[in-house]
Amino acid sequence: MSQIKSTLKLLRRSPYQALAAALAMSLTFFVASIFVVLVIGGQLVLNYIEQRPQVIAFFKDDVTESKINEIIASVKSTGLARDVKYVSKEEALAIYRERNKDDPLLLESVSADFLPASIDISVRKAQDIEQITKVVKDRPEVERVITPENLVEQLVKWTKIIRLGGIIFVATLASVSFLIIIMVIGMRIAIRRDEVSIMSLVGATRWYISRPFFIEGALYGIVGSSIAVILVYAALLFYSPNIQEFLGPIQVFPVSPLFFVYLWAGEALVAAAVGIIGAAIALFRYLKIR
């Protein structure tokens, strides 16, 4: 009888303990998957926002081109801007016309003179918006500066909170799963005390006796993490229209199935390691071989 077959036979004999261990693992990795998805989603939103012009500075009507170039140079010299784009009055009119092409009434009375020239600034890091804003705001040639308020700041803050909270929460759940695995495998060792003793007396090595328990620990991890990833995949699929509606123009769907393959592989690896280490501790603590 192979070791895997013998492990599966043992699991069938006391399915409730096995179920408890696998469910604890599922819960841990379900929560972990949600946090991974949230953190990655948050990062995607942040990337989107960072790629858009986050600071728009509108100039007064009488500002000369050389002054504008001077301001652009001063923004670039901070090293914080990824891109600075000058939008002339004519270009502003073209954008306005494009945006309102379905509303002839709004187009009728507007000419380039009505619209101010501006510079659109994209920052390298969302945290630098405030500093860039200050650079342009202090210039007398600038009429008005528009920034996405503190949206980015809030987003950065929340991403950090989710990341930190996720780590703490998942670490707590992982510890609970770990203890459950030690307990379940400890119970199995106790149940198989006679068998262990007989095996040892007929010449089984410690490794031979321990192997099924390691396989069992790894199985709990792999089964638990697989259930978790399948649940998260299903949930994301189900709620994707709602999420996309909430995010508006930020395109995050469809999520590549490869992402879930990587997520599963990563989590299965970590979960199997948790199971194997749990088994090792249980064996060290409870397996007594004469």
Binding site: M1, S2, R13, D194, E195, S197, I198, M199, S200, L201, V202, G203, A204, T205, R206, Y208, R290
Partner: protein
């Protein structure tokens, strides 16, 4: 070859199970270790498999001091020694076949070889037709023969049998020892059987070592045993 040199075993509760034992058992011998309960018979067998350690002395197996073995070498020693335990130590949730297969599984034999070798040994002990039975479905003699089959399936150099006729009726007990004698004769396996069954000992006319309160009282080539 098994050799005890000035072996003493004292348990933590102060009880002296064996005291200053010196003996040598050659390969292929059939030896009865006899004596009343508590004489030290089981202790002697447990010392040979390194299930317990002596308090003093030296135990040699094939000229190697087994007390100096590192933990990793003990399973290899035990693979050379088959044991029939006093309480059988059969796995109740495994069939006769599966129980007998255990020593072969632990040495990593292929399933096809296990199938062949287990069937052959079950035939030898007359249990082939009971291969799929569980221990609870067997008679006392059959349980004992299953334990013997498990002990000899890996063709050990030495077979230790601790009271293998304990709860058996005289006829079944003799059948069990007949099986052991056949193994000794056919395979040249060294047999060391601990017993206090005088009728059996006297019938088979083998070497008899009499233990009394942990000491060797007699060691005779074709000995006899008179129990109280």
């Amino acid at each position: 070859m098994i050799q005890f040199e000035e072996v003493t075993k004292k348990y933590p509760n102060g009880q002296v199970a064996l005291e200053d034992i010196n003996l040598k058992i050659e390969d292929g011998e059939f030896v009865f270790i006899v004596g009343p309960s508590g004489a030290g018979k089981s202790t002697m067998l447990k010392l040979i498999t390194r299930e317990i350690l002596p308090s003093f002395g030296k135990i040699l197996f094939n000229d190697e001091n087994i007390l100096q073995f590192k933990e990793g070498k003990i399973p290899h020693l035990r693979r050379k020694i088959g044991t029939v335990f006093q309480d059988f130590k059969l796995l109740l949730n495994r069939t006769v076949f599966e129980n007998v297969a255990v020593p072969l599984e632990v040495i990593g034999k292929k399933e096809s070889d296990i199938e062949k070798e287990v069937s052959a040994v079950l035939e030898k002990v007359g249990l082939l037709d009971k291969a799929e039975y569980f221990p609870s479905q067997l008679s006392g003699g059959e349980v004992q023969r299953t334990a013997i089959a498990r002990a000899i399936v890996s063709m050990p150099q030495t077979l230790l049998a601790d009271e293998p006729t304990g709860d058996l009726d005289p006829k079944t007990a003799r059948e069990v020892v007949n099986v052991l004698e056949k193994i000794n004769h056919d395979d040249k396996t060294t047999i060391i059987m601990a017993t206090h069954n005088a009728a059996i000992v006297n019938h088979f006319k083998k070497r008899v070592i009499v233990l009394e309160k942990g000491k060797i009282e007699k060691d005779e080539k074709e000995g006899k045993y008179e129990s109280d």
